[in-house]
């Protein structure tokens, strides 16, 4: 494998990781701060993508579509939190899983009812199409570069919010002791609604960004949801920093594994068995990574002690 190809695959892995981070950030906040397992996070990703496709189809503006995905997913998040999730904070994790799994089914069928069973069209705007030449003669998709940029900006924004602002302090306090900060006069239920809506909005934004280069269809959120759970387990539940590092680790492992393992086995096996062994092993690679991390750090990389 040439160096250029390796650098290009690393960029691909980074882009994939940054996209996973947008999903995982919301999930880890909700899980860490509110102690809630939200399986319906993938549905919010789908809602973002569908909202973006609908708005882009109606107005032709990609920026409006992104705004719509953010707003619609946040709004859906507020509704879910208010009507369903609020009743689940004190319940067992199993009850939360059951209720949010039901939400997946409800959202999937409702989306199918509104938009039909066929995938929707959503394309990147002209000003982000095509490729750019990076140093060393690497030709890379401008849109993927933009996703990396957006993801990193969001990551910096979240770090700043969590560590420097009043609301960030409250979120961290709520994570440690929710009764105490309630007793100090913070409106804890409003805070929870905000955290949930923020996570939902990020998932919706991820759905819209990714929808432009993938297919916008019912059920698109669930495969990503599974990866996002892997990310937060690796990174440590509740940690934004862990989510970022975990997401990039998973993105790099998956992408580099897919591209390099088959050629690695090709060095000492015949092509067809190298191909099938490489393909099988690379689909396991991120789970092997998860096992490896958990063996040495059972609470994840940044999961505290």
């Amino acid at each position: 494998m040439s160096l250029l190809l390796f650098i290009e695959q690393t960029l691909n892995g980074l882009q994939f990781g940054v996209m996973l981070f947008l999903m995982a950030a919301g999930l880890t906040l909700v899980f860490g701060v509110m102690g809630l397992i939200n399986l319906a996070h993938g549905s919010l990703y789908m809602i973002g993508a569908f909202a973006a496709a609908a708005v882009a189809g109606a107005t032709g503006s990609f920026l409006l579509a992104l705004v719509a995905s953010f707003v619609c997913a946040a709004f859906a998040g507020v509704l879910i939190e208010f009507f369903v999730i609020r009743r689940l904070y004190d319940r067992d994790h199993l009850d939360q899983v059951l209720a949010t799994f039901a939400l997946i089914l409800i959202f999937s069928e409702a989306t199918r009812w509104v938009f039909g069973s066929f995938p929707l069209f959503l394309d990147k705007p002209d000003w982000l199409s095509g490729t750019v030449m990076l140093p060393f003669g690497i030709e890379y998709s401008l849109y993927r570069l933009a996703i990396i940029g957006v993801g990193l900006v969001v990551a910096v924004g979240l770090f700043w919010m969590i560590s420097k602002t009043r609301i960030g302090i409250r979120i961290r306090a709520g994570e440690n002791d929710r009764e105490m900060i309630g007793a100090l006069g913070v409106n804890i239920s409003l805070l929870y609604t905000f955290v949930f809506a923020l996570g939902a909005a990020l998932a919706g934004l991820a759905g819209a960004l990714v929808g432009a280069i993938q297919s916008v269809q019912v059920g698109m959120g669930e495969p990503v949801l599974i990866l996002a759970f892997v990310v937060i387990v690796i990174g440590g539940i509740g940690s934004i920093k862990g989510a970022l590092i975990g997401a990039i680790l998973v993105g790099l492992t998956d992408t580099l594994g897919r591209s390099m393992l088959p050629s690695f086995f090709g060095l000492f096996l015949e092509p067809s068995s190298a191909m099938s062994l490489g393909a099988s092993l690379s689909s396991m690679s991120i789970y092997l990574l998860m096992i490896g991390v958990l063996l040495f750090r059972p609470k994840g990389l940044f999961g505290g002690v």
Binding site: F16, S108, R144, I213, G219, S276
Partner: protein, 379 residues
């Protein structure tokens, strides 16, 4: 979600005179109507029901169930249909892995099965069965056609990719059976994969002169959009599954000009097909896909057999099915000895008609093509 609908295929022609059979026929359709793969099942169902309605027969009852693309659900539904609904004929399954879970045991219980889509190699070869008929294709067929077309187009160093599951392996096997040039690379992707940046980078680095891919459903949409944006501009060829009517609108201009192979297209010139396309559009307000044509043909095959034989007389009914005496949307249609179609497979190009993306035939890849498993089938 458990969409349980008992649709009595009724036209109002019900009446007085003698009906061909004393009692009605019950058809059990298990297909995918919810979740990500629902578009295919809905097209098969709509095509099938259109043919039943047009036949004017009110003695055919169709029980439709949704398998959610899950093998375990499909198996449960099949057991219920056979044991408590007591259907006479079964049909509808889209996916090969579901087909392998349901069909062999249904056949063992004496059912007739007419496949409107899935055509796994096992059921065409060693595990073929006298009561199993595939009206669509054997899984390898369209890929073989793509291989033959690649030779004609002068591709000599092609990069091929497919998902790592049985139909994906069948696809690359079928392609290589016909293709005579060199392989620049061969990659199995993960089933359900959505990001193809790594594979596209490999294509770019491989020095290939063309690309063949089999990525059905949403996987194909993702691949085509990302490929169009990658700056790699090698010609692409693939089977129709990534270019059917339901998917093309979601891919948009990224698919324009791509060549794909199909046993059906809306511009095949024959009366049946013209009438089918027009009536499907009038009934459902969208253009039919190849899946819809397969559902339509399956129902017409069934009806043609019911015209001449009673379903309870298994030998006569089987002979009537084997005769395939119906007007197919594909024109000429016959069964090979292993009950899979012998048919022409065309090369289509993706074009834009007004606002709608669709396909037009630009040539024939294979004429009167059967399948590679005929000899392995002894029945």
């Amino acid at each position: 979600m458990k969409l349980k609908s008992l649709i009595i295929a009724a036209s109002l022609a019900a009446s007085t005179a003698t009906i061909a059979q004393a009692e009605g026929v019950k058809v059990g359709m298990i297909t995918t109507l919810s979740g990500g793969g629902a578009g295919l099942g809905i097209d098969v169902r709509d095509g099938f029901m259109l043919a039943i309605a047009q036949s004017g027969r009110d003695d055919i009852e169709v029980v439709i169930e949704d398998d959610q693309r899950k093998p375990d659900v499909a198996v449960q539904l099949a057991d219920r249909m056979i044991q408590s609904e007591q259907v006479d004929v079964m049909t509808g399954i889209i996916w090969s892995n579901l087909a392998m879970a349901v069909i062999p045991s249904a056949l063992a219980q004496g059912q007739f099965y007419l496949s409107p889509n899935a055509g796994p190699s096992a059921l065409a070869g060693a595990d073929c069965h006298e009561n199993y008929f595939n009206v669509a294709w054997q899984n390898d067929n369209l890929h073989e056609a793509a291989g033959a077309y690649s030779n004609d187009a002068g591709y000599a160093n092609i990069f091929i990719l497919a998902p790592n599951y049985p139909a994906g392996t069948d696809a690359l096997t079928g392609f290589k059976r016909m293709y005579e040039g060199e392989l620049a690379g061969e990659v199995y992707t993960q089933l359900g994969q959505t990001d193809y940046a790594a594979e596209i980078a490999q294509i770019r680095a491989s020095g290939a002169d063309s690309v063949f891919f089999f990525l059905p459903g949403g996987m194909g949409i993702s691949f085509l959009k990302q490929y169009a944006d990658s700056g790699v501009d090698l010609p692409v060829v693939g089977p129709a599954f990534s270019f059917d009517q339901g998917i093309l609108q979601a891919v948009g201009a990224a698919a324009l000009g791509v060549h794909n192979t199909s046993q059906w297209s809306k511009d095949i010139e024959n009366e049946t097909n013209a009438a089918f396309v027009e009536s499907f559009q009038a009934e459902y307000g969208r253009l039919p896909s190849l899946y819809a044509s397969q559902g339509f043909d399956t129902a017409n095959l069934l009806i043609s057999a019911l015209e001449v034989a009673d379903v309870d007389d298994a030998d006569a009914f089987r002979a009537a099915l084997e005769a395939a005496n119906f007007d197919s949307t594909r024109g000429d249609f016959a069964f090979a000895s292993n009950h899979h179609p012998i048919q022409d497979i065309y090369v289509r190009e993706v074009i834009q008609e007004g606002d709608v993306f669709t396909n037009k035939i630009i040539g024939t890849a294979l004429t009167d093509h059967s399948n590679a498993y005929v000899d392995q089938c002894s029945m």
